[in-house]
Each structure stands twice: as C-alpha cells, then as structure tokens.
Symmetry: C2
Subunit: 336 residues, 2 copies
C-alpha cells in the first residue's frame, strides 16, 4: 500500500485545497517537482544584482509578463507582473492524482516586480514610483475579480528572510483563490452582523475610537490614517485605512494612490529605523469577490514586522503575546 | 499628550488582554520592565550547561518551584515546575495603568523543566522519564482547572530558536488564561454542532477516516495513534489522538502515560532524523475549563515542525501553503 501511495504522490506537481475538520481551516498542499526536504528551508538569498532574475535585462529568466506599468515619458517598464514560477495555486488547476483528495487548486499566483533597479525596499523608490506600484496592485486585483471564477484576492509583500522572502529585489505577490479562507469568511459574517446592528462598519468604529483616543496614531493624510492598533499582535504592527468608506482597494484612484504612496513611504522609513534589518509582511485586504453588497466592508492594509517568533502559544490558541504596548510603538515611530 | 501617554505606558510591567474588532482576536500585551526593541529578537542561546538556570544545582537562579516530580527510588527532582520569570499573564493580575484598556491579564504561566540534566530533547530521556513529564503536564492542567478562575489551559513546548525557544535545556510551558481564545471558542461551537448532528466527535470521525485511508498513519499503540493529518499546515506536521473517547488530558492514567511516552519517543526520534536541527512546537489541547459536558471534545497533541516560514499569505488568510504532501511526510517518517 505504501508503495502504491508513493507512486500516487511522488514526482508530480500538486496543488490542492484540503479542509481540516478539527481546526476548521483550509490549507493548500502545493508541491514542486523534485523538491527535497532540505529545500523547505529558506533558499539562498540572492544579494547580487547580476544574479537577480527580477532586474531589468534579466526578463528572459522569468515567465512572460502578464502586465507592465510605465511612468509618463519613460522607456521600458517600471512595474512588471509575472506568473509566479512556483505557484501555490494554478489556472487551470492540475488534476488530482491521489486516492484521497480535496479540491483542485484553482487560482492565480502572480509576482509584482516593483522596480527595474535592484533595490530592496519601497523606501528606495520615488513617490511617483510607489504610487505606480499601488496602482498596479489595484489593477491586478481588478483583473482577478473580473475572471469570475475566484472567491478572493490578496496582495502581500514579504520583506526579509524572517518574513518568508526568498529574493531581496523589491516585489510583492498577488494570489487569487477559488475559496474564501474560513478566517475571512468568519470575519465577513462578524462585520456584516455588526454593520446590520449599528449601521456603521466595524472599521469606521475602530477608526472613530483610535482617532478619539489619539494615542496610537502614527500618520495621517487627506484620505488615510495609519495606526498601531489597540490590540497589536506584534511589536510595531501598523494598520492603514481610508478615512472614508471604501470597500474595494481595486477602485483606488490615481489621486488616492499618490496620497497613500506618500504615507506608506513615510511609515516604512520610520519603521525601518525602528526595526533595523528585521523583515515585515504587508497585506492588503479588499472585499471578497462575491456579488453581495459590501457596505459592511472597509479595505485596509496590515504591516506586521517580524521581530518576534511565533511560538507554541500562538500556534495553539491563535492569540498573540506582544511584548511592546502599541502606545509605545506609536510614539517610537512618531519620534523616529 | 504624547508625554503623558509615555508616562502611562512606560516603565511599568503590563499584562492585559485586548480585543481587536477587525480580526475578532484577543491578544495579550505583556511587557517586561526595561525591555528594549533589540531585545524583541530571540535572546542569546544558552548552550553551555554551566550557564543554564534549569540544570540541577542552579535552582537558586529560578523562582521557587510550585511542583516537583520524582521517579521511584530517586534522590532529588526529575521534573520541576516553576513560575515563568517573564510571565505573559499573572495571578493576581497587574493593575491596568493606562487610559485605554482591555481586561486585566489574569492567568498562570509556568515552566516545566523536564530533566535535571542538561539535555535538549525529549529523545534524550528514558521512557519512564518521558512518562513522568507527561504525568506532570496532566497534574499542572488539573491544578489550573481546580483554581476555578481560569477558562483555558494549554501545555506547549518550543524546541529550537526557530520555534521561539530561548533556552535549550529540555522544558515546556503551561499557560492558563482567564479567557477562552476566540479560535478555540469557534472550534468548540463547530465540534458541539457536529457532535449533536452525528452523535460522533469530530476527532473520532477524523480518526475513522485516517485509519481507513491508512496513507498518513505514522505510529500506533494500544491507546494512541499518530498521523500526518490530511490537511497538514506544514511539512511533517503530526497529530496524536487517543483511540478511545477522552476529553481531558489531565485525566491521563499512569498506564496511558507510559504508552504515550513510548509513542512520543519513537515519533520525535523519527522527526528529528527528517528535520535535522530545525525546531518544532508541540501543543497539547484539552477541553476548555467550563462546566459544560465535554462529550464533543477529544484531547489531542499537535506537533508543528518549523522548517518553513509563515509569510504574508498565511498571516493575511489563516490558510497555510504546505510544500510537502502529508502522504509523503508520513512515508518518510515511517521509513526514518
């Protein structure tokens, strides 16, 4: 039996959604041909520009691009979107090849290369370049939504090995999944119920409280506010929200992209001076790709520095132990 | 204002439960006096036995013990339980000292020192020593439950820096919290509903499926089975469950402790040969400390190797991307 099983699972690429009845969670089992156990660890860090597949001139090293973005009066690309070479989900999905199975791993997994130059942080870009990156995120989310076969789209950025990055060249990822993850489905339900009760979004109530307390605000512009949330999970956690009701990041206007870009540049510059070389994850949450009314939803950005390690308590309970009060984090970030 | 705020939050120890309305999660803000940002990173690893506060002869370096366990005909302790020197939760809890606040951080945070000798893994212990460690876990959970003021108790073990450990001397932690974390509350609801529908526990149904499929079983004894779960979140994830209905780990019998100890020794030896020096978290889930009937609950142990890094996708969605099929993981563990 073990032999037969081995043939079923060995040697073939696999992308499959599986549900766990005990935790209630879905996972994506995504294997790459020939991957060995010692390759599960973070790959070698490519520090040298000459070696980097994301630099201008190395376009042949990546799959063909699905989109490119240019600044006015520019030759060549400024932002380039390519399929991920090692995708977690695929379209069309690979056939299920084993006896026990979940659901086919239908989805889209893209990489957004955020500069033709070999730079390692958004803070190395000029404000119009950052605005163009944000516009690219919005356009890719809109493209995933328009397909009609996906339930959810997420933009995220892993910066530094501790945050799960394998290349240092400034980039993000976009993933569209055929399933709405249960954590987000539960959040949707809670937000809908709260909105139905109070007539306000959960996010607007959160904003009201943070603006009134004024203890954890780190930055504010015409359209956006950045806060170290009251219940921060990790030191220097940040949350950015539009001040007005906005459900869809994919509808970000050019003016909003400029404004958000400046805020993000300021925040990340402050953050980098507080956390030195430690990495962070940046996550953009937009409304699920369903056709219900999203009057309850408010898009937002999470920034999660990776100074601390999650340990058994966090894995077992989903509850984080944070050694830095967000009031202190906000003050340090403002003073940076 | 910033100055005033600074005085409210600076310089005082703090342990506070805080709820986040957007994620629905609770966090524990737990600060230690004088902690600086560069101390959020993993502390220096104490490799030298002479330096280790957990070794026999160094008992004066730790707070006074709350329990000790001995083997028959032994001089001195074999397992020693002490209050955590840097507790996340406290009993009685510290006063809330800032304007915005959550709930006082009432709880218990203990360390279980699992050998008087400077060894770094349960696999360095003899079977009766491992059985005694398991009996100590059960006794500590029973002691937390008996207090009557806690909602939940968790035993967990962090092995290796990647898993969040700060000392290598073999040890675990026990945390009792005044709140049941929402992730576990939601799980309780789902398990109760499923049990009411089918008359079987979710765990028993899971066991039936895994035993019938027989693709992911890694070990089995008279009382227990170890499996690489169908929807494993990380490479080489393992789950241990009692074959019969058991809600309370704290009721582990001496005979079961012997049996479980042998299984655990075998599993961890196999695991260590597959994941080399990478760390892991081990988590014991027992029924919540409420007075409802726990006919829906089945205690279980999770082992989560830390070969891979969680990145933005996992943080944003709660959904894990696992590059190793559990069928392959189980075969490698069986062959190890």
């Amino acid at each position: 039996l073990a032999q037969g099983t081995g043939q079923a699972f060995n040697g073939a690429d696999m992308s499959e959604y599986r549900h766990d009845p005990l935790t209630g969670q879905w996972v994506i089992i995504a294997t790459n041909r020939g991957q060995r156990p010692d390759e599960f660890a973070a790959p070698e860090w490519k520090r040298v520009a000459a070696d980097c597949p994301f630099c201008t001139g190395q376009e042949h090293e990546t799959p063909p691009e699905v989109a490119r973005f240019q600044l006015p009066v520019q030759n060549g690309w400024q932002v380039r979107v390519i399929p991920n070479k090692f995708p977690a989900v695929l379209s069309p999905p690979p056939a299920l090849n084993g006896a026990p199975h979940g659901l086919p791993g239908l989805g889209v997994h893209e990489v957004v290369i955020e500069s033709p130059r070999h730079v390692t942080s958004l803070t190395h870009l000029a404000p119009p370049e950052v605005a163009l990156v944000l516009a690219a995120y919005a356009q890719r989310l809109a493209a995933l939504l328009a397909r009609g076969d996906l339930a959810y789209g997420l933009v995220f950025k892993n910066v530094g090995a501790a945050a799960g990055a394998s290349l240092e060249h400034v980039h993000s990822q976009v993933v569209g999944t055929a399933l709405l993850p249960p954590v987000l489905d539960e959040r949707r339900r809670n937000w809908q119920q709260s909105h139905a009760r109070s007539g306000k979004t959960v996010a607007a109530e959160f904003l009201d409280q943070e603006l009134a307390a004024h203890l954890r605000i780190v930055g504010q512009t015409r359209n956006f506010v950045a806060v170290a949330p009251f219940a921060s999970r990790v030191p220097f956690e940040l949350r950015i929200l539009p001040l007005a009701h906005r459900a869809y990041f994919e509808e970000l206007s050019s003016d909003e992209a400029q404004d958000l870009g400046l805020l993000l540049l300021d925040l990340l510059t402050r953050l980098e001076s507080c956390i030195a070389q430690s990495g962070y994850n940046l996550i953009i949450h937009t409304a699920p790709f369903d056709t219900s009314r999203h009057d309850y939803y408010h898009w937002h950005i999470e920034i999660l520095p990776r100074l601390t390690r999650t340990a058994g308590f966090e894995w077992g309970t989903g509850c984080f132990i944070n050694p830095l009060a967000p009031e202190d984090a906000a003050r340090r970030l403002r003073d940076a």
